[in-house]
Amino acid sequence: MQEFKKEVSFVEKNKIAIKKKNMFIVNYIKDVFNGVKSLVVGLRRTMYYFSHHKEIITEQYPDNRDTLVLPDRFKGEVILVHDENNEHACTGCTACELACPNATIKIITKFDISPEGKKKKAIDKFVYHLELCTMCNLCIVACPTDAIKMAQTFEHSVYNRAELTKVLNKQGSKIREGVE
């Protein structure tokens, strides 16, 4: 019985080998055909693009500067949001400074004296080093009062490196009422 089984398997193997031999030329032609087919698919795609060249996907940047629309998640630089009364929402908690991975933000605090005579912590200067910033968005996530956000400006070139160190809080601005 064992012998017989062996015999069968040998015959099977032989059959497969013969089949493979016969299949060789078929596979060869199939190869050529499939290769040509896949190339034609690519050529059709590029021909479509070529013949529809009015649907360009690139931004004609300096020409369309006035009408440029950037995607919402584009991150240009950190700004401190001021409202029309020149008030912001920054409490000076330094959460953003702590969150920043490369010390881009430095918050200098001072103590305001409220009308009741109580001392209250507030920001003196919100220093932002644009040249160090990687636009990682961690400070915006860390801010508990949503005082800072990412602006969409991106034309940051200046002639002097010192100009990239910015003070974000405007002259004479103060914290908005009710923000703790």
């Binding site: 690519g42 050529l43 693009y49 070529f50 360009i56 690139t58």
Partner: protein, 358 residues
Amino acid sequence: MLSFSNISKSIDTWLNATFNSTWTMLFEMVIAGVGVISLFAILGLVLVLMERRVAAWIQIRLGPNRVGPGGMLQSLADTVKLLVKEGMTPDGADKFLFNLAPFIAIIVAMLLMAPIAFAKNFQLWDMNIGVLYVTAISSIMVISILMAGWASNNKYSLMGAMRSGAQIVSYELSAGLSILAIVVLSGSLNLNDIIQSQADGWWIFKGHIPVIIAFIIFIIAVTAETNRAPFDLAEAESELTAGFHTEYSGMKFALFFLAEYINVFIVCAIGATLFLGGWMPFHIGNWESFNHIMDYIPSSMWFFSKTFFLIFLIMWFRWTFPRLRIDQLLNLEWKYLLPISMFNLLLVTAMAILGWHF
């Protein structure tokens, strides 16, 4: 009627009337040389711009649009830039060979211009072995590339040159075999005779499927022979940093660049001559009136439109297909193109003997 052949004939008669035969010969040579060089310059400008525009449109961009109206002067600006740049020779390079290589490349391209029929009765040299001449001369191209790669004394250059050698030597076979298909059908090596044999229809229409297969193989092989993508292993910007012309700068680089485009033009002109009838207008068998209408379009127009169609085809390939690896490249040639083209040649021969073509 104003045509290339009339102009050349009138110049010839005027020169013969004014000077003796030796001076006429000399002047005609100078005129031909200047003509070829100016054609080179124009082709270089036009083809580079065309390539960039085709690439841009295929990639859904605009392409050059700053210099001149619609960016038309971009390639002119590039040429000026290359002309004023310093042509440096590296310290470790073999100075003589390094400086010689680009000139060999451009001389080969110039020599290849000789047998091409640009219009009816307008040819630099009507020789009876035009096809053989073209295949023989175009293989000298590999020497300039090997020379450049070796003399640069740079591993990337040498690698690119070696790849290019393997590539050109192997793809010449299938290019030659596919050219032979047409030689078998027309029974002549003379390019003019081949064009004349297509007076009642171009070979690509007359020759049924075997000639179409030969045409496809020819296009693939010449794309490889001119070192253009997807067969640009000799350059391979991303792996070999431009391969054999890594060390070249300024005008020497420009000569290589120009030679590449001139070669593309030449192989497309040969392809157009062999398969699409050269300057022969679109004729269908014995439709006399239709053929007569087609004859009104000047022959030079036919030649250049066919050639530029083939050039567009090759550019289309370049911006569609990814680059092959060296083993894939040689596989494609030795395992696919060569057996297919040999079998195809057999088929074409049988067809020619039995008269199965139109």
